[in-house]
C-alpha cells in the first residue's frame, strides 16, 4: 500500500491535526512574490478584478499545502502552476468578467500611438482560447521553455509548440494591417 500525505508527500503524517502553514515562510512569500503573481494573473485574465481573485485563491491553496510548496525546487514555480491550473479550471467564471482595465486609464499624449498598438495586441490575446492564451503567456511573459510549459499544463511539448504557432498566427490575423506593418517595421 502506498503511503502519502496530502500536504507533504515526503513527510510522514502526524497522527492528528497539523498546522495549516508555517507562519514566517508563507508570509514572506506573500510579501515578496504576490505582486509578481498578480502581474502574471493580470496578463492572463485581462482584468484587475479577476487577477486579484485568482491570486487570492492561489495563495489560499498554496497556504493549505505550504509544506509541499516550500519543499519544491522553486516554490514560486509551484505556486504559478497552481495559479495557471486554477485559471484554466475556472475560465468560465473569468470569461464573464473579462475586461481590459487599461482601457479606462489615461496616458500621456505621446504614448497614444504605442498604446494603441499595445491595446490591439492585448485585445487579440484575450480573444484566444484560454488554453492557447496560457501557453502564449507562459512562453512570452514568464519565459518558460516548451518542456516546462508542457509539464505544468500536463500536455506534450509538441502540443505546446503547436499551440504557440497557432496562437501567434491568430494574434497576427486579428491585428489590423497597419499594426501588423508597424510591428514588422520595428524589426532590427
Amino acid at each position: 500500500m502506498r503511503k502519502q500525505t496530502f500536504m507533504d508527500g515526503a513527510d510522514p503524517a502526524p497522527p492528528h491535526k497539523r498546522a495549516e502553514c508555517p507562519e514566517v515562510a508563507f508570509e514572506d512569500f506573500v510579501a515578496h512574490r504576490s505582486a509578481a503573481l498578480f502581474r502574471g494573473a493580470y496578463v492572463l485574465t485581462g482584468s484587475r478584478e479577476a487577477a486579484e481573485d485568482l491570486v487570492q485563491e492561489t495563495l489560499e491553496r498554496a497556504c493549505r499545502r505550504w509544506r509541499k510548496v516550500a519543499a519544491a525546487e522553486s516554490p514560486e514555480a509551484y505556486v504559478r502552476r497552481i495559479m495557471v491550473n486554477l485559471t484554466n479550471d475556472r475560465w468560465r467564471r473569468f470569461r464573464r468578467s473579462k475586461r481590459l482595465d487599461l482601457m479606462g486609464e489615461t496616458f500621456p499624449a505621446d504614448e497614444y500611438a504605442r498604446l494603441d498598438s499595445r491595446d490591439q495586441l492585448i485585445r487579440a490575446l484575450l480573444q484566444l482560447p484560454m488554453g492557447m492564451r496560457t501557453v502564449v503567456v507562459l512562453r512570452y511573459f514568464h519565459d518558460m521553455p516548451d518542456a516546462e510549459i508542457a509539464a505544468d499544463l500536463g500536455i506534450s511539448a509538441t502540443t505546446v509548440r503547436s499551440q504557440l504557432a497557432r496562437g501567434l498566427d491568430k494574434l497576427r490575423a486579428q491585428l489590423p494591417s497597419p499594426v501588423r506593418q508597424q510591428t514588422e517595421e520595428v524589426a532590427p
Binding site: 491535526k17 508570509e27 496578463v43
Partner: protein, 216 residues
C-alpha cells in the same frame, strides 16, 4: 511603482512580432499597481472554512461489484438540526467575546465543497448533525484516494472513524478551525464510517474519492 518583468531578456531568436508581444505583455503587466495581499488575512480565511480534509490512501485492492449508490440512512444516535442546513445555511454560533474579526461567528461551510476543491467524487454527505452516527460507504471499486472533510461548530471534539483508524478534530465556537490533510492509512478498505461529536458540537462530514494522489 516597482516594474516587474518576468522576461527581462531580449531573446535574439525572437521575431520582431514576438519581441513586440514580449514588450507588450511586460508593459501591460505593469499597468496596474499590484494590490497588497495579506498572509494573515489569507490564513484567517482558510481557518474560517473550518474544514478538515483527511486524505486516506487506499491500497490497490479492487473490490468486486461496482460502487453502490450511497444513501445516508445509517443508524444514528444523533439528530439533524435542519434539512436546510445541507444547503449551507449559516449556523448559529456563540457570539464573540472580544468582537474581533477572528472571533466572529462564521457561516457554515459545506464540507463536500472542500472535497470538490480536491477534484473528488462525493460518496457521502451527512449534512449537519449532532451526537453520534454511522454511515455506510460504497464498495471501493478502484485504488485511489478517499477524502474525509469535517465541518464543525461548537466547543468540543468530533471524532471520525473510518475502518480501523480515527481522526479527531477540536472544534470551538470561534474561528479556530483549520484545514488539514492527514493521512489515515488503511490496511483494508472501509465499509462504513462513524462520527461522534461532543455535546454542543454540530458537525458535518463528507467522504469522497479521487483517482489522483493527494495534492494533485
Amino acid at each position: 511603482m516597482i516594474r516587474h518583468s518576468a522576461r527581462a531578456l531580449h531573446d535574439a531568436n525572437l521575431t520582431p512580432f514576438e519581441q513586440n508581444l514580449v514588450d507588450t505583455l511586460n508593459d501591460v503587466a505593469n499597468t496596474p499597481d499590484a494590490p497588497q495581499f495579506d498572509a494573515v488575512i489569507i490564513k484567517r480565511r482558510i481557518r474560517r472554512r473550518r474544514s478538515t480534509v483527511t486524505g486516506l490512501v487506499l491500497g490497490a485492492v479492487v473490490i468486486g461489484g461496482g460502487a453502490t449508490a450511497l444513501a445516508l440512512t445509517g443508524t444514528s444516535a444523533g439528530s439533524s438540526p435542519s434539512d436546510a442546513s445541507k444547503a449551507g445555511v449559516a449556523a448559529s454560533s456563540s457570539p464573540s467575546p472580544s468582537g474581533t474579526p477572528d472571533d466572529a461567528p462564521m457561516a457554515w461551510q459545506d464540507p463536500a465543497a472542500a472535497l470538490r476543491d480536491q477534484g473528488g467524487e462525493i460518496w457521502a454527505d451527512t449534512g449537519r448533525r449532532t451526537g453520534a452516527a454511522h454511515f455506510p460507504l460504497p464498495a471501493q471499486p478502484h485504488a485511489g484516494t478517499v477524502w474525509t472533510s469535517i465541518e464543525c461548530q461548537g466547543s468540543g471534539k468530533v471524532t471520525v472513524t473510518v475502518g480501523p483508524s480515527s481522526y479527531t478534530e477540536s472544534c470551538s465556537a470561534g474561528a479556530s478551525g483549520t484545514v488539514n490533510a492527514d493521512q489515515l492509512p488503511f490496511s483494508t478498505p472501509a465499509t462504513h464510517f462513524e462520527v461522534t461529536g461532543d455535546e454542543g458540537v454540530t458537525w458535518g462530514v463528507a467522504v469522497g474519492w479521487s483517482r489522483t494522489a493527494p495534492g494533485h
